[in-house]
Every structure is written in structure tokens, then in C-alpha cells.
């Protein structure tokens, strides 16, 4: 039984297509992050799961029950919003029990739930306060509390941390992670922040233009991006995509970029389909953190590139190199001294590369 299952879901606002044939499944207790740039449809998808938006095509199932036409309040979900959406005229207590009162839950049960949740989230001292008298972090906690008292099957989070300052955001992120570890409730979480997505999700669905680009574990998203969009979206700075061709001779594949005679051997790469590789136009993808200034293992590929730029960011530096007029970025510890405008010996960790078809931009 899947806690949440979305089938062939499409949505348009007038003539603009917002979601296109979305298929998604979540197992009980998983933490799914919908990640994508603004306007990719991730919030719309969340609103549809909540029942706040109608569907043009397709179905939403919660616990194998088709809820496509069920009212939000009857879907057994709870949602935490970006602006917290605490009712301004009610105090914390009233905010938290508003839903239970609507659902005509008995007074004793309401009090019991309120006490349990407010203790758990450490807001029990704030119950009589109005939202305007709370700090950002407290409001966030109350918003989560309002969702918790309902004991929902699925938690929906709509960019809940983006209104907080950087420090608080990291704290609240850890709290949400802890919360999920303790409660083990299924979560769908929308964000545009890849660090949040990586650190929280057991699964990440990367969306762009209303289509899910890849739905996978954080490790796979990072190590095996399924197309250039995902490769480019994840990582900071993002993956280097070097344009060039593959060369295949006597069962040995190598990568050559235009106007260069450097052949990078592609040996251990796990091709999806190992045919028609010769002369194929591809992007050679390597992350900045997989380029080293000294050899780390035997298979590392040695290459000489000219250093053009150094960006110091404290614990590390981001160096820009020139590889046949294509920029290649690398991340080094800031203690390493590299002279600019000079050729530098670099080592590519070839076990970590990705290859994409230059035409379809899909992983090969």
C-alpha cells in the first residue's frame, strides 16, 4: 500500500500547462522533497495533493483511496505554509485547535492533543500569545504544531523555511528532520533549496516545466543525474558540462573535446546502452569537487589546464580553469596556492563522471 500515489496528473491554468503527466508514489514514512526552480509547478502539485487546487486529468490516491474529488479537510493531511498562515486574530491555543474544533472532536481529546503537541514542540509557554507576538522560529513551530494536532497521514510542507534567516533556517531544518525521525509520518516537502532537499529527503523529485525530471534518492540525484537539467541544478557550483565527442576503438571508449587532442578514457563508466557510441556528441560531466590538485587514486586522469580565476569563500576556493575555451570549475581547500594564468596539473576522478547525450540531454 502506497501512502500517496499520483497517476498521470495534468493541470493547466487556462492555456498554460503547469503540470504534465505526473506520476509519483511514496511509501509509508518516507520524506519526499519536490525540488525545482520557481514556476516549475511544485507548489501547484502540493496544492493538488492537499485538495486546494482542482485536477484537469489524472488521480490522487491516499492510502489507496482515490481522493481526487475529496475536500481538503477530509483527506487526512495537514499543511505548513511558507508565510506560516497563522490566524492573526487567534492566539496560539486557538490556532492549534481550530481544526479539531471544526472536526467536532471532543473537548477532552482536544486538550489532550494540545498538551501533547505543545509540550513536544516546546510552545506550551506561548499558548496565550497572538502570532504577532511570536518570533519567526516560534511562529514556524506553532504552524507545525497546528499540523501535528490533526495527526494526519501525510504532512505537506510548502517552502516552510524560506521566510527564516540563514541561521534559523539551518536550526529549523534539523528540527524538521528530527521530527520526521521521531514521528515517521509521510512527508511531502516543497522547496527550491537543494541543501534543504538533500539533507531532509529520503527521496527527491526534481521538477522543471511541470515535468518530473528525476525521482530518486539524494545519493542518486547527486551521483547519477538523469539529465543535464538535474546535473546543472544540483550542486554548488553545479556540475561542469564539457562538450565533446566520444571515440570508440577496439572496445575502448574515450572522450575528446573539440579542438583538443586530449583523450579522456571512459573505462569504468556504467553506460545505459553500450552501442553507437563512436562519434556521439556528448556532455562530459564532472563535479567541481571531483577535480583534485594532487593525485588521490591510481585511476585519476592527469590534465594540464590554465587557471583563470579564483574565488575565495572562506573554507574553500572555487577555481575556474580553461579547457579548450570551455570553463571548468574546481573546488579546492583555500590553503592551496595556485598561480593564475599558468598551467596547473589537475586530476579528474573518472569514477565520478556523468555522460549526457548532447542532443537529448539525457544520461547515457
Amino acid at each position: 500500500m502506497k501512502t500517496l500515489k499520483i497517476e498521470e496528473l495534468s493541470k493547466n491554468f487556462g492555456s498554460t500547462e503547469v503540470l504534465r503527466k505526473i506520476n509519483l508514489e511514496i511509501d509509508e514514512g518516507n520524506f519526499l522533497v519536490l525540488l525545482g526552480p520557481s514556476g516549475c509547478g511544485k507548489s501547484t502539485l502540493l496544492n493538488i495533493i492537499a485538495g486546494l487546487e482542482t485536477i484537469n486529468e489524472g488521480n490522487v490516491h491516499i492510502d489507496d483511496y482515490n481522493v481526487s474529488k475529496v475536500e481538503p479537510k477530509d483527506r487526512n493531511i495537514a499543511m505548513v505554509f511558507q508565510s506560516y498562515a497563522l490566524y492573526p486574530s487567534m492566539n496560539v491555543r486557538e490556532n492549534m485547535i481550530f481544526g479539531l474544533k471544526q472536526a467536532k472532536v471532543s473537548k477532552e481529546k482536544i486538550e489532550e492533543q494540545l498538551e501533547k503537541v505543545s509540550k513536544f514542540l516546546q510552545v506550551d509557554a506561548l499558548l496565550e500569545r497572538k502570532p504577532s507576538q511570536l518570533s519567526g522560529g516560534q511562529r514556524q513551530r506553532v504552524a507545525i504544531g497546528r499540523a501535528l494536532v490533526r495527526e494526519p497521514r501525510i504532512f505537506l510542507f510548502d517552502e516552510p523555511l524560506s521566510n527564516l534567516d540563514a541561521k534559523l533556517r539551518v536550526e529549523m531544518r534539523r528540527e524538521i528532520k528530527k521530527l520526521h525521525q521521531q514521528l515517521k509520518t509521510t512527508v511531502v516537502y516543497v522547496t527550491h533549496d537543494q541543501t534543504e532537499a538533500m539533507s531532509l529527503g529520503t527521496n527527491i523529485a526534481i521538477m522543471n516545466h511541470g515535468v518530473i525530471q528525476q525521482n530518486d534518492t539524494p545519493e542518486n540525484i547527486y551521483n547519477k543525474p538523469s539529465n543535464t537539467f538535474v546535473a546543472d541544478f544540483i550542486g554548488s557550483p553545479s556540475m561542469n558540462l564539457i562538450k565533446g565527442n566520444l571515440k570508440e576503438s577496439s572496445n575502448k571508449v574515450s572522450f575528446v573535446t573539440h579542438g583538443s587532442n586530449i583523450e579522456i578514457p571512459i573505462n569504468g563508466y556504467d553506460f545505459k546502452e553500450k552501442s553507437n557510441l563512436d562519434n556521439k556528441e556528448v556532455f562530459f560531466g564532472i563535479r567541481p569537487e571531483h577535480i583534485f590538485f594532487k593525485k588521490s587514486n591510481e585511476e585519476d586522469f592527469e590534465i594540464n589546464l590554465r587557471a583563470d580565476l579564483s574565488e575565495y569563500i572562506g573554507h574553500e576556493q572555487i577555481m575556474t580553469f580553461n579547457f579548450e575555451n570551455q570553463e571548468v570549475l574546481a573546488k579546492f581547500p583555500s590553503t592551496v596556492k595556485i598561480d593564475l594564468s599558468k598551467n596547473t596539473k589537475l586530476f579528474f576522478d573518472l569514477t565520478q563522471i556523468s555522460l549526457f547525450d548532447a542532443k537529448t540531454e539525457e544520461r547515457i
Binding site: 492537499a50 485538495g51 486546494l52 481538503p72 511558507q82 498562515a85 492573526p88 486574530s89
Partner: protein, 300 residues
């Protein structure tokens, strides 16, 4: 770059000090002139209303009255006590109250409701509805006189306070809707979404969540509608006469219909009485208005 010495900076400092001082005094001067200009008519009215006719004839507009003489106020409010032809404000004042209270209430309430629907429950064609409502703000009063007279006739409520309540409510809805729409646009729709998930329905969301944070705009709307309706003369004089007339119409009748000597003191007292409720609304509601704005009630 020119190297400025310490003393030349001193000079510049002095100069800008004098310029600022001059500008400040000039500002006060202009403000005082404007204040006098605006207070002058009120002064003349109050002073005249406290004089006897004898004094008015002998003195000038600006002369101070000999004493506090409220006789003309009593006459304006309660009449002289003889029968026919004695027009005084008291009954018409209550007419106006009976007209303005329900009219302000209904137009504000309907406007709040409409603003809520137009911002939080978007539907097909809602932009058009809003556009037409906006259009209602630009229709001149005169244009709706005839159709409205016919409507009131058909409904059988012409020449009644109820008729005037209806006219003012209908005519006020475009304005009140505009006010509330623009206010509710600034309130995050996520509040409504949260309430829907919590199981609140259309009316519950309106009464429990939106209305409690609407104080500032309710006050603005009440001030606007009260002033409009209380001060209205055209609708009042067109759709009512005799006993059903509101105060502004009665004031006009009083001032224009006196056959004998023009009693300026009574006229002035009447005009002030007719203006006092608006003043009270401004003073009372204005305070709440500012309080509503500063309490941060809107941002949750």
C-alpha cells in the same frame, strides 16, 4: 579635486544652517496661512450662531458675540413651538440617522463579502465582475436618478427612509467592494488555504479569520460611507420630501423657505448641527483607524 580647508567647511556649515532655518520658518508661515484659511468659515459660522439678530445687523462678520447665547441652536433643533410652517431639524436628524446607520452597515458588509469573494474565491469571470463594479464608481449620481426612481416606485418604497437606505446601499457597494478588495489582496491567501484544510467553510473563514483583521479597512469604509450618505443632498431631495426627508434636505428647506427675515444665526446653527455627526465619526473612528494600522494586526 579641490582641497577644502577647515575654515571653508565652517563657512559652508553656517550657510546651510541659515538656509535650513529660513526654509523652516517659511514652512511654518505657509502652514499657518492655510490653517487660518480653513478655520475662517468655521469661525464665522460658530460666532454668527451665537449672536442675536440685533448683533448680526450691527457688527461685522468677525466681531465676537456679546455672550454665549444658544437660543438660535435651540430654535434650529426644536423649533419655536408654533404650528404650521415651523421647520426644525430634530425629526429630520433622526430620519438621517435611521437612513445612515443601516445604509452604512449593509454597504460595508456587502462590500466586505464581495471583496472577500473577489480575492479569495476566484471564479471564472471574476475580473469582469470587478471591472463592472469599478465602473459603478464612475457612474455619476445624476445618471441613476430616473432608473432608481422607477425601481423605488415598483418596489413601493419611494419617499421613505427604507428607499433611501436601498439607494445609498446600492450606490455605495462599488466603493466599499473596491476598498475591501484592495485590502484583502494584501492578506495572504495561505490563510484561507490553511482554514480550508482545518475544515472551515466559506462563511466561517470570512467571519472567524478575515473579518477580525479587517478593522482598519472597516473604519475607512465607515468613514467614507457615513460622510457620503450623511452629506448627500441629491438622492435625499429626489427620492424623498416632507416628513421622510433627511437632514440635508430639511436644512435646505429651512434656509431657503423662510419667508420673513433671514435668520442667519439659526441658519448657521442648523448647518453646524447637520455637520456634527460627520465630525464625530472622524474624531472617533480616526483614532481606531490609526490604532488598527499601528497594531500590526494585519501581518500574521
Amino acid at each position: 579635486m579641490q582641497d577644502k580647508t577647515h575654515s571653508s567647511y565652517k563657512q559652508l556649515e553656517q550657510k546651510s544652517k541659515y538656509t535650513n532655518m529660513f526654509l523652516r520658518w517659511f514652512l511654518y508661515f505657509v502652514l499657518v496661512i492655510f490653517a487660518l484659511y480653513f478655520i475662517f468659515p468655521l469661525y464665522v459660522m460658530v460666532v454668527t450662531s451665537l449672536k442675536t439678530m440685533e448683533e448680526i445687523r450691527q457688527g461685522t462678520l468677525l466681531t465676537w458675540p456679546s455672550g454665549l447665547n444658544f437660543d438660535s441652536w435651540l430654535v434650529a433643533w426644536g423649533g419655536r413651538g408654533y404650528g404650521a410652517g415651523d421647520t426644525f431639524l430634530k425629526p429630520y436628524f433622526w430620519n438621517s440617522i435611521k437612513m445612515v446607520v443601516p445604509a452604512v452597515f449593509f454597504s460595508t458588509f456587502i462590500g466586505a463579502m464581495a471583496g472577500y469573494v473577489l480575492t479569495k474565491w476566484r471564479f471564472k469571470g471574476d475580473k469582469w465582475v470587478f471591472l463592472f463594479l469599478l465602473f459603478g464608481c464612475f457612474i455619476p449620481y445624476q445618471a441613476i436618478l430616473l432608473p432608481m426612481a422607477r425601481t423605488l416606485g415598483v418596489l413601493g418604497i419611494s419617499n421613505s427612509v427604507i428607499g433611501l437606505v436601498l439607494v445609498h446601499t446600492v450606490y455605495g457597494i462599488p466603493f466599499t467592494t473596491l476598498f475591501f478588495r484592495n485590502f484583502y489582496v494584501s492578506i495572504p491567501s495561505e490563510l484561507v488555504k490553511a482554514a480550508r484544510i482545518d475544515g472551515a467553510g466559506f462563511f466561517k473563514i470570512f467571519f472567524k479569520i478575515l473579518l477580525p483583521v479587517s478593522t482598519p479597512i472597516i473604519v475607512v469604509t465607515i468613514i467614507w460611507q457615513f460622510t457620503q450618505i450623511w452629506n448627500d443632498f441629491l438622492f435625499g431631495s429626489t427620492f424623498s420630501f416632507g416628513e421622510a426627508a433627511p437632514i440635508q434636505v430639511a436644512l435646505n428647506n429651512m434656509v431657503l423657505s423662510s419667508t420673513s427675515v433671514k435668520e442667519y444665526n439659526v441658519d448657521m446653527a442648523s448647518a453646524i448641527i447637520a455637520g456634527i455627526p460627520t465630525l464625530i465619526v472622524y474624531v472617533l473612528a480616526g483614532k481606531y483607524f490609526i490604532r488598527g494600522l499601528t497594531s500590526g494586526a494585519v501581518k500574521g
